[in-house]
């Protein structure tokens, strides 16, 4: 089953670069190590870090028009910073990987299954 791991971080700290070079290096090292492990285990599907939230353009529908505005969806303190997709045996394994990100980097991580377009057999009564 594939899961997407969505990591959220504090918007202000990220935009202002409010972290020490050591912290930054430690996070980079952690992600490099994790990436290596998941590639070796054959569980890595894809992973990207995002650009700063200020580069975001948000599109939404207003009436019949599609309106583009600058910035993320809403005024939130936590913004999406990276995502990875893993293909793992079960949810417990996805949570284990996400837990390591939380412990090492301090970001909040959402774990959601990725439906794959398959459907079971429907036997109606």
């Amino acid at each position: 089953m594939k899961y997407i791991l969505l990591a959220y971080t504090n918007a202000v700290a990220w935009e202002t670069g409010d972290f020490s070079p050591e912290e930054f290096q430690a996070a980079c090292d952690f992600y490099e190590q994790l990436g290596k492990e998941l590639t070796e285990s054959g569980e890595a599907v894809g992973s990207e870090g995002l650009a700063l939230p200020s580069f975001t353009k948000t599109l939404r529908k207003q009436g019949d028009a599609v309106v583009t505005s600058d910035g993320p969806y809403a005024e939130t303190k936590e913004v999406l910073v990276s995502f990875s997709i893993v293909d793992v045996e079960n949810e417990a394994r996805a949570l284990e990987i996400a837990g390591r990100v939380v412990a090492a980097v301090g970001d909040t991580v959402e774990v959601r299954p990725l439906p794959d377009g398959a459907g079971g057999e429907l036997t109606t009564p």
């Binding site: 594939k2 590639t39 070796e40 285990s41 054959g42 569980e43 890595a44 599907v45 894809g46 293909d87 045996e89 299954p113 439906p115 794959d116 377009g117 398959a118 459907g119 079971g120 057999e121 429907l122 036997t123 109606t124 009564p125």
Partner: protein, 403 residues
Amino acid sequence: MTAARIEDLLRELAPQALGALVRHHGHFDTCEDAVQEALLAAAQQWPVDGVPDNPRSWLIRVASNKYTDQVRSELARRRREEAVGQEPAIEVGGSTDDSLVLLFLCCHPTLSPPSQVALTLRAVGGLTTDEIARAFLVPEATMGKRITRAKQTVKAAGAQFSMPPPDQRAVRLAAVLQVLYLVFNEGYTATSGAQSIRVELSAEAIRLTRLLYRLLPDDGEVAGLLALMLLTDARRRARTTAAGELVPLDEQDRALWDQTAIAEGTALVTAAMSRAPLGPYQLQAAIAAVHDEAARAADTDWRQILALYDLLLKLGDNPMVKLNRAVALARILGPRAGLKELDRLDDDQRLKGNHRLDTARAHLLELAGDRAAAVEHYRTAARRTLSLPERQYLLTQANRLTS
């Protein structure tokens, strides 16, 4: 010979060549790489130069050369310039029994199910890593690592290239059947996305199960699984609309069912049940056969289906079987009787949050005339399923009842 025929031939020969190589050299992991290289070479050369007179020994010879090359370069890397290649010639005669040993090896208990599946498709099925990766919608590098790691795990476990000891045979065979069924379902339930690639997985699962059936013709569960696959796959064309929407069994156009597959599957399961001890695959195949032999949905012999579910429950306590049994019971005694049975499943932790319980309840409530409750359960089921086509189907049912 056409490229497609050559591909079929190569897939058939792949496990035989691998078996011959492993018997001769040992080292399953290195031999597997060598056979893959030989398969690639054949896929490139045969369509141009023609198929060799004895394709099997060609493949074994080329794979063996690749193996020797690999071992040589390995040795060179270790600066040990000992000569290889002075070994006696490989026994080309070999039997297809090697395929069975390979299947057991690929479904080794130290491997996780996804790894068992990947290794089986490559080593026994002769599929390339890229083909397997596309079928499971993961990058080729990911699938490559999964296969490499699986081979290392098998090696580290000290697995031998021989049949499992008799006392483990049944458990190990069950794992093989489970893997083949996983591959089949992966292909059968695909409704969108890379559908055509995934559908080939069902064909591949049937091919490998046929191979297993040839090797173990007296095993009732092997025959049962092959029958179950054929009887299920027979309905493929009727199972979804052109737009990929799911069509429930009752509403399928039965003229689209594959009667040849149904006849073969029915004969297989009938023969198996009359001589082998009953097992879950045989019983599931028998249920599929009862559905398949009904010319119209209304002709379905629900009493026989109910009896088969009762037998399945005797083999083991399984909440999904109980759920299906409740549905069959509803067709005989009416929806209220079925709903009563479903109520008894509410406390089963194994079904907690499972959309199938909500789906069954919604259908039965609709049959009982309780539209409002049916809509509610269709919507709950739609919320709970992880399958997009199922979600679509369930929401359509809810909307149909509210409009």
